[in-house]
Amino acid sequence: MSAISPDMENPGDPTAAPELVSAPPIRSRQWLTLLKSTVGQTRGQIGLTFVIVIVGFALLGPLFAPHNPNAFIAFPNQAPGGHLLFGADALGRDVWSRFLHGGWTVLYMSLSATLIGVGIGLAVGLSAAYLGGVWDEILMRIADVFMAFPQIVLALLVVTALGPKVYLIILVVGISHAPRVARVIRGAAQQVVERDFIKAAEAVGEPRRRVIFGELLPNVTSPLMVEFGLRWTYSIGLIAGINFLGLGLQPPQSDWGLMINDNRLSLTVQPWGVLLPIIGIAMLTIGANLLTDAYARSAIGINRGED
């Protein structure tokens, strides 16, 4: 915060560019309108409900689990009945208790990966748009290389080299999102860079970092939110998928992805061990996607045909 960039702190400054003065109140009202219109749509309501229900299961589930998720309390693949609401899994553990315990890992791993990916992507995208020229070229070519792998293959490559560690999987899924986010943010920011208030901010000597994050960032929040929702949807699928392949979390951890793998061979005998986690994952991704779509529709204000 240099002394010659007082515009935000001192709105009464007569030398300040008018956009800088009037921007904050409009922006905050816009937020409220956007939120209202997102939740005002049927798909927004359904999406929000799904997400709240599943997040509720993931956070509070362990408190309501009737049994120890790792205790062997029944015959393998025992049918539902008695004290077993959804029967036992392939090893004789309570399916319902494992389901209630298994959402948390899906939730925190996918959200951390998304935050990392969107964070890096945002920084790279804004920098590429603002700096332009050689920097833009270098950053986008690096992004191209990382986009030359399907995300799952990149993750498997890292798991092979460094082993199935949780932080590693979060990190590699996050990083594999980054170039995709960076492209979108760069595209949105390029249109803003040319506008007068950016030149005004430069003219009054604002440091680069402040121009990028103080002036550019607030003007790309809509695509940023949409990217966050999309990447979260994909993160859930990717992370649950890696756990499903048995290359992430290891037994006896209760995790929805891992649960599917544990019980898929007994699908015809006792489907609940697969069905419950599948429903949980499906509701979470559908909820996240519907909510993102509703938000994007409100933000654009027109019929959105594509993500």
Binding site: V145, P150, I152, V158, A161, G246, R264, I281, E306
Partner: protein, 318 residues
């Protein structure tokens, strides 16, 4: 245009080269001696030395890279750490099976989703459009393994209709096309996974084109609805759909990993999961390299196709 073509192809080669460096560095990232890491507790001094020689680990990293890369260019992917046989032999059968699966899925999915997109755009805001738009939105959110297992429950178990095998067993020596029944569910999964993306972009682009003046003009001239839609509107609306189709085709190269695992389909995907589980680095590198190459080439073809179908770009002196 020729200059643009050459630039685009050179860029593709450059990206492939960088991809190969990323794939190669996976070996270098192994903590300590890669041979030790691969062999684990079974490492006897003799086996350790043999594998060290085999992987050229006693040479410098650039020399190792050169060795590996020049091998790949000649079609030699090294020796599998798990089977001790050549990787090329290990992956050629699965490669053909996967190529067949992806090709079948793409041949069905791309025209189907373009047709769906056009139909949604023509029926815009009618019930059919609402149902399909919401349906594709929901489908787009679902991970492949969720779709795959849902299909298994519906079409391969006693619960609803046992029409297809739940496990896609391909007898040794046979290829996927010899036992077409086992391809149905994996292919259906891939089709359901990519259709939403292509049809939604086609709908969006078609809605825009149907609003343009020249389409109104064509209607005013009294042309039939079919001619207006298919002869006048679709050719202009299809470019974004081609690009997304290519992206989805490239995505399928990775999507097969999980889909094949769900159905136990013997392709590069299951092979990759097995290789990762065994920490069979040469095989993982070979498969990652092949998938990366498919990805780069498909995107290259998409860019070229875009030029071919867009007259403005075709004549531009780029």
């Amino acid at each position: 245009m020729t200059r643009f073509l050459i630039r685009r192809v050179l860029l593709g080669i450059l990206i492939l080269l960088l991809v190969s460096i990323v794939v190669f560095s996976a070996t270098q990232a192994l903590p300590g001696n890669a041979a030790q890491a691969i062999l684990g507790r079974q490492a006897t001094p003799a086996r350790l030395k043999a594998l060290t020689d085999q992987l050229h680990l006693n040479q410098s990293a650039p020399a190792q890279y050169w060795h590996w890369l020049s091998g790949i260019v000649r079609g030699h992917f090294g020796t599998s750490a798990a089977t001790q046989g050549p990787v090329t032999k290990l992956i050629s059968g699965p490669l053909a099976n996967s190529a067949f699966l992806v090709a079948i899925s793409a041949i069905i999915a791309i025209p189907l989703s373009i047709g769906l997109g056009v139909w949604m755009a023509v029926k815009r805001d009618k019930p059919a459009d609402h149902i399909l738009s919401t349906g594709t939105l929901v489908l787009a959110a679902l991970p492949e393994f969720v779709i795959g297992i849902a299909l298994t429950l519906l079409l391969a178990t006693k619960y609803v209709w046992r029409a297809f095998p739940a496990v896609s067993i391909i007898p040794p020596g046979d290829h996927a096309w010899d036992v077409p029944k086992v391809v149905v569910l994996p292919a259906l999964t891939l089709i359901l996974a990519v259709t939403p993306y292509i049809s939604r972009i086609m709908r969006a682009s078609m809605v825009e084109v149907l609003h343009s003046d020249y389409v109104t003009m064509a209607r005013l001239k009294g042309l039939s609805n079919r001619t207006v839609v298919w002869r006048h509107a679709v050719p202009n609306a299809i470019v974004p759909a081609i690009q997304v189709s290519a992206l989805q085709l490239a995505y399928m190269a990775g999507g097969v990993v999980i889909v094949e695992y769900v159905f136990g389909y013997n392709g590069v995907g299951s092979q990759l999961v097995t290789a990762v589980t065994n920490r069979d680095i040469p095989t993982v590198q070979a498969l990652a390299m092949i998938i990366g190459a498919v990805y780069v080439v498909v995107n290259l073809v998409a860019d070229l196709l875009t030029i071919v179908v867009t007259p403005r770009l075709r004549t531009a002196g780029r």
